[in-house]
Symmetry: C3
Subunit: 205 residues, 3 copies
Amino acid sequence: MKFFFPKQTDFFELFDNASRNVIKGASLLVAVLQDMDNLEIISKAVRECEKEGDFMTHDIIKKLNKTFITPIDREDLHALAIKIDDVIDLIWACVERFTIFKLQKPTPEAVSMARELMATTEVMSKAVTALRNKKYSFVQEYCIEINSLENRIDRLYRETLVKLFEEADPIFIIKWKEVYEYLESASDACEDVANILEAIVLKYA
Amino acid sequence: MKFFFPKQTDFFELFDNASRNVIKGASLLVAVLQDMDNLEIISKAVRECEKEGDFMTHDIIKKLNKTFITPIDREDLHALAIKIDDVIDLIWACVERFTIFKLQKPTPEAVSMARELMATTEVMSKAVTALRNKKYSFVQEYCIEINSLENRIDRLYRETLVKLFEEADPIFIIKWKEVYEYLESASDACEDVANILEAIVLKYA
Amino acid sequence: MKFFFPKQTDFFELFDNASRNVIKGASLLVAVLQDMDNLEIISKAVRECEKEGDFMTHDIIKKLNKTFITPIDREDLHALAIKIDDVIDLIWACVERFTIFKLQKPTPEAVSMARELMATTEVMSKAVTALRNKKYSFVQEYCIEINSLENRIDRLYRETLVKLFEEADPIFIIKWKEVYEYLESASDACEDVANILEAIVLKYA
């Protein structure tokens, strides 16, 4: 996999940084759900992560476009950068909804989903680090773990929706349905990252 | 198109199987709408189709990544596998909503949309088989048919929404709107499959 | 960038036409919001733009698939065609909602968002023309402008949602939320176009 690492740019270091930024966002999401009184401050911190993620992604893509690598590698690395960024974007969109919808009290379901999401981002980051360190069998193990975490969040999401629709207030339903959808999409995006990592390992390892 | 068929893997046989699995899911969707009393049993069967689709897609992608073909072919075949899988995923998401939302009686609009969708998946499968058999002009004809079926579902969806919003109960609206959206998205995904098939024929035939 | 322009097809002329078609759609969207009495007529005109966009996109993709260019260029040009078409599709979906939801009076927020969107499509079209004329530094400047317009629409969207959820009528909320989402997505699609243009300039200029 040497051709991956042109001397001037260590792309996997950049991916590593981007993944750790996602963990930070996910932890802040869990924090805000446990401490809605500090919504404004924590929300700003998540916004910073989202901006940092954008900056990192543009940096990676710029360097990819300026680096001589084969089209097929570029495609994979490009997709990886975009998907890691999607996770933090969706976390930010979720947190932003608390302010937009003036949600003052978290639901226990949101807390559970956010915790599982944080765990998923941690495994995702481990998988990226393993790829950086060329520990390919570890990459595959972490990807399987991400898939099983994603399945768990999926089930949780489904149960959460059943409970949500027992509510009588349609506006409450609209608001929280959107929050849960963002949490579920963020988890889906982690699974997409895992799929790309698996494909890279299969192709080049 | 010989380079498409390395001796070890007949990708088009795999696509053929995946398409037939989608038809099965679409038929079960029609069945469940005509027999909501058996929701639980039929729902499980659709879930099996969805899992089977996942399995088939991973198998195709794994084999693609392990097979020496040019990047551009790989991209097309990869996109085809993903999109066929999207159709069955959306059918499953739709069926799952009946349970989550505790819908007990189908609407006539849902039945009509599901029937048109089943017809679309049948033509989609015919198009894939035609590609497998190198009947390229048939592929193109079936793709045109898929496009016109998709337009019909689109119109149906629009009329269905008009009728839905004449309802007074917002929660009823939220639930059925989501069901109709999945039906419409499944039909869109069939059209995406048709577009990829057309592109493959244009490029290689 | 000569290899981009095989004698038989000037792709950038085609992109130029497609972008101007998007401006037309965006202007009609602004017009309809200022004159809801003529919804039916103006709506038909937007529908024509959407169909024209489809036709142009298929034409570009067909020609791309028939032209000998390297895979990586093709990917970029293909993505550009699809994304420009997404903008007009989303504008049409938005306008269609006025009829489906029987909206009779525009909100001031929808007018503001539509105006900003029209401005964005104008800059997008300028960026495409600049690429056609090989004025690469202008392309980059216009792309930065698109990004800042997109940020403005994002903020507007957020404020609009806050105001919308102060309404008591959930069905009103459902309807207008969807309209605003389409406006925001159209603006996102313009940003995607800008990202592709920037990548093309970076890679080939």
